[in-house]
Amino acid sequence: MVELYWLPKIEDWRDRLRRLGESGCAWGDAVTLANSRLDAAQTNALDTMAHRALPGPPGSPADKPVRLALLGSSTLAHLLPAIRVAGLRRRMWVETYENEYGQYWQELADRNSALHRFAPDAVLFALDARHLASGIGAASSASEVEATLGEVTERIRGCWRLAREHFGCPVIHQLALPVHPALIGGNEHRLAGSRAEFIVRLNATLREAADGDGVDILALDRWAARDGLHAWHNPALWHSAKQEVSPAAAPIYGELAMRLIATQRGRSYKALVFDLDNTIWGGVVGDDGVEGLVLGQGSALGEAFADFQDYARELSRRGVILAVVSKNDETNALEPFDRHPEMVLKRGDIASFVANWSDKPANLRAVAEELNIGLDALVFVDDNPFERDLVRRELPMVAVPEISDDPASYAQTLADAGYFEAVAITDEDRSRSGQYQSNRARDALKASATDLASYLRGLEMRLLWRRFDRIGLARTVQLINKTNQFNLTTRRYSEADVIAVMRDGRAFGAQLRLIDRFGDNGIIAIVIGRLEDDADLVIDTWLMSCRVLGRQVEPTTLNLVAALAKQLGARRLVGDYIPTPKNGMVRDHYAKLGFATCGETAGPDGATRHVLDLAAFAPRDTFVEIAEERA
């Protein structure tokens, strides 16, 4: 039995369904009900009730409604409610169309057909295996089978092309279920005319063709291999109703279809946020200490936790951002990452690390803000049912899978829930994972270097700086607006503001990139300086990515700022620190760099002012070479 087991059960589901729409918020209620562990009958009931309560899309839907045409060769009507409910699950309103029985090609080709009048903006082909393999049989020769394989493939590619040309929309192709019983058995591939083998080969051929044709695959064959064919296909229902996909599996089918459609529209989760104690290791680090944790070799449970960490790391390598939200003292929470030899995840794998005693919804908000992504891009994994409930109630847009008490099941649960469904891996994904890999290499160097100086020297760092320019504009604005921690003044600027700096002859804006022997860290710091009173270079903005803390970037940047200030004729550097709830880490930034503190400024923000005399300034010695980067 396949089911949406990662979604929570709603105890009073029947009553809430009956009351749908009475509260005046039918849309929100329907979305909540769709996000529960529905079986086939419940799915159909919710679809009926939702359409009674909501005749059309709600006033302000997150996306425009989806118009999906499901085109196939056998009965598909029983899948449509589940597709619409899977849309509701994602706050997407889905209008569906299915072709007249068996008429998919005719309707595609005929511009006056009901399909063309429907004007889909998503097309899903679901051709059944018996239809596809009907041209061959055990008596067919190898060459006949080859010819048929080629013909069927080309016919399907023709359908893709027609859909693309007429509707200009994304196309999804559902691969065929392996419904044919074997004729010879384990070596079925030796019988040229085997229909079972034909479907296996056709699916492989279509996978390849889809890559070239820009079509996305709904891998029903993989799911059948995983769940067993009986979970997906009931021969009795095929004979009575020509339903190839069993109605019992419809809720999952709808989910798989909408996952792809949501992904094609840029709607997918970006970050995996997890709790620590009893989620990625066994035990409570604050109570049991690092030595007392159950993790890695030595017990099955410990290995299961390590395995889950490995899955998370693999996800990060393909571009999923990792973050931690844990109720812990930060020092305790970080200790296993630094000291526990069996930790698979390292500090460098975690893009945002929040450990404190605030409630988890508040901390998830902080993570979203720090990562500069929406709350609806977060998936939160926590072993504690209370915390899961709380987050679901407070932040319904965050995905919170139901997980069992057994860490051995966590990875598969995340995979089955399909939060990180992707149809392509972008360069950006790869570089994101590349940056984390470089972090790990740096960690390894740190472990092998005997002292800090030899570690830093071994990094062979180069800080390449450029004045603000059009090429870097987007990244500059992004950094200025999302950096909260290492940010002296937390001033936020628009693109127009940054362009104004570029045009101001008495100011400079510098973007700094850090490269080391393990790779390019990208633009990691921004400084804006402005000459005032012909003598003071006031540092309007100085911010840096926390990824490069402890690498001597700060004193090296100071050398640059001093040089640029002298070019403008300044005699002093003036730096303000404006405290915020987030930037306590840079309170002593200027003092550490040798600035004299002048005390608080007059403003209401509690800012302090710091001054450095340039005449007496000697550039700091660091292990970072600095150079101007020419575009």
Binding site: M1, A40, A41, S246
Partner: protein, 79 residues
């Protein structure tokens, strides 16, 4: 399982499938008397019954179902 118990469980299933909380089952009730009871609803009922009672219907058993009474007898045989 006794017949009244089967009727009770079936009533819940039918009310959920047809979304009608006033639905009352009798042995003679068949698809002809219920407006929405088409072939899809028939399959929905069968799947819900299979899942609720942990049983599996054979093709010829599905074909032979004419009314609620047939369904109750079939469930009674299998549970």
């Amino acid at each position: 399982m006794t017949e009244p118990q089967i009727y009770e469980a079936l009533t819940t299933i039918f009310r959920d499938v047809f979304l009608r909380d006033d639905m009352v089952l009798s042995a003679g009730l068949s698809a002809k008397e219920v407006p929405d009871w088409d072939s899809f609803k028939q399959i929905e009922i069968i799947i819900a019954v299979e899942s609720e009672f942990g049983i599996k219907f054979q093709t010829r058993e599905m074909d032979a179902l004419a009314n609620v009474g047939d369904l109750v007898r079939l469930i009674a045989d299998k549970t």
